[in-house]
């Protein structure tokens, strides 16, 4: 039985970690980008960002003040036994978000959509937002994503229904055009992690795109060769566009391209793109039935990638 006091503490630590500590894969992607960048300004921008992110761990302050939407992904073991059940987990998450906001690890960003009124603690209608996946086993894994407004509001999330007749060319054009439009003037804080969802209904494609952007390990490959090849082709093509960090021009325009797909009605193929900003904040933990807690380096949402 997973005890309430154990998951309460683990959830708070995971939120704090997600907001303040750079993920290992993001750090590695920055180091690689800095090494190959030839633009002096872009190299300075990448280097400054990495230095600031490293300082966040020391100062225990947010990697970026826009901690955005608090979004949670919960991988629930089918045989897991939890004190208070999943309602207890959701209560603990709401309490931890409010506490992290009060302590300045999160910014009170969530407002009423019509009035702009500020609850002051990031708690409101449908926020935090929860997504579940059920898997064999008796542990649970909880991922916190701080989804910033830059990468969400300024063109980072888009979709188009592409005719089956238009094939791969249609899908590729949609991705390239979306990415260029959303990175202009640094709108989505590039170099971003680009997630692409292909197939399913439009909302399924959009969810897959968001999960691909926020939950995949940077640089991991889709296990199916056709999609792995498409990821690689798009990654190479986007990094030759010259967008650069914050859109000022440079060699690194995207940190990774991740694709997830669903089978679909081929009357029209939903192609969705979603981006996570360059600081790509997320953190995950696993809580086992024996109440041991493991902080994970990567969300493991797609099992091994």
């Amino acid at each position: 039985m997973i005890k309430r006091e154990v998951y309460e503490a683990a959830i708070f630590e995971t939120i704090k970690k997600g907001a303040t500590i750079i993920s290992k894969d993001v750090k590695a992607a920055f180091e690689k980008a800095i090494e190959k960048e030839t633009s002096v300004s872009a190299k300075e921008g990448l280097t400054d960002t990495l230095r600031s992110m490293e300082l966040s761990e020391v100062k225990q302050n947010p990697l970026c003040p826009d901690t955005g939407w608090p979004i949670f992904y919960i991988k629930a073991g089918n045989e897991s036994r939890i004190e208070g059940g999943f309602v207890g987990i959701e209560e603990a998450i709401r309490d931890a978000v409010a506490r992290a906001t009060k302590l300045g690890y999160l910014r009170a960003t969530m407002k009423h959509p019509l009035t702009g009124d500020d609850p002051g603690n990031n708690i409101g209608m449908n926020i935090p937002y929860f997504t579940y996946k059920f898997v064999p086993g008796n542990s649970i894994e909880i991922t916190y994503v701080a989804k910033g407004g830059g990468s969400e509001c300024f063109g980072g999330t888009r979709h188009r229904i592409v005719a089956f007749a238009d094939g791969l060319a249609g899908i590729k054009k949609c991705v390239i055009d979306n990415y260029i439009a959303s990175t202009r003037a640094g709108a989505i804080c590039p170099p971003s992690v680009l997630g692409i969802g292909i197939g399913g209904t439009a909302n399924v494609a959009a969810n897959l795109a968001k999960e691909a952007a926020c939950l995949r390990t940077i640089g991991s490959k889709n296990p199916e060769p056709a999609f792995a090849k498409l990821e690689e082709e798009l990654y190479d093509a986007i990094n030759r566009l010259g967008i650069g960090i914050m859109g000022i021009g440079g060699d690194t325009s995207v940190l990774a391209v991740h694709i997830e797909y669903a089978h679909t009605h081929i009357a029209g193929i939903a192609v969705a793109t979603s981006s996570n900003c360059m600081v790509a904040r997320r953190a995950a933990c696993r809580i086992n039935d024996d109440n041991s807690v493991i902080q994970l380096d990567s969300p493991n949402w797609f099992g091994g990638r």
Partner: protein, 207 residues
Amino acid sequence: MSAYYLEGPLSEADVTKLNIGDVVYLSGSAFTCRSRFQRYIFDENNKFPFDLGDRNILIHTGIIAIRENNKWKLVSFMPTSSIRFEKWGARSIEEWNLRLICGKTTMGPKTAEMMRKRKCVHISPHSVSPNLWIDSIQIEGVHLREELGSIEAPWLLKLDKLGPFVVDMDCKGNNLYDEVDKTVAINKQKAYSNLGISPEFEYTKLY
């Protein structure tokens, strides 16, 4: 491209010398502003809550600040996207006598025209480096915090060589990203070609 250390209040000469691509560090008095505050002033016709005096540096940002030992402590700072304030951009420059706006994503044509007319520039960061900036900022005060919420309220800041930021809109009507657009447009055609997207490709119209 040159680097400038500017001290507010800024004079006309301070900003007319700036060209797109120049690097700027800011000192002096500034204030923060976001859409809830601009709606409060311009759409809801409320009185400006403090004497602006010659404070003519505006920063689009939503800071994180906590109260510690009866003083405000700045926890994090990053300029935010300016394009969403386009509706009120020109009016802000004119009525608040702004010489410089620090934000992100530049602004639209109406603001650009007012920048040209009233001599004002827009600058943006080329990194996400809150921790390299927060030691250059002191919080002087805040207004309307209860009414608008912490991040939408206008904060008064004292800056000490805050930067580097890049001039992306000068007061001659130039925009840095128009230049990047030209390069990207050429590279896009190469990308299409490498990805096997024919120049004749057109989407099948489904709706």
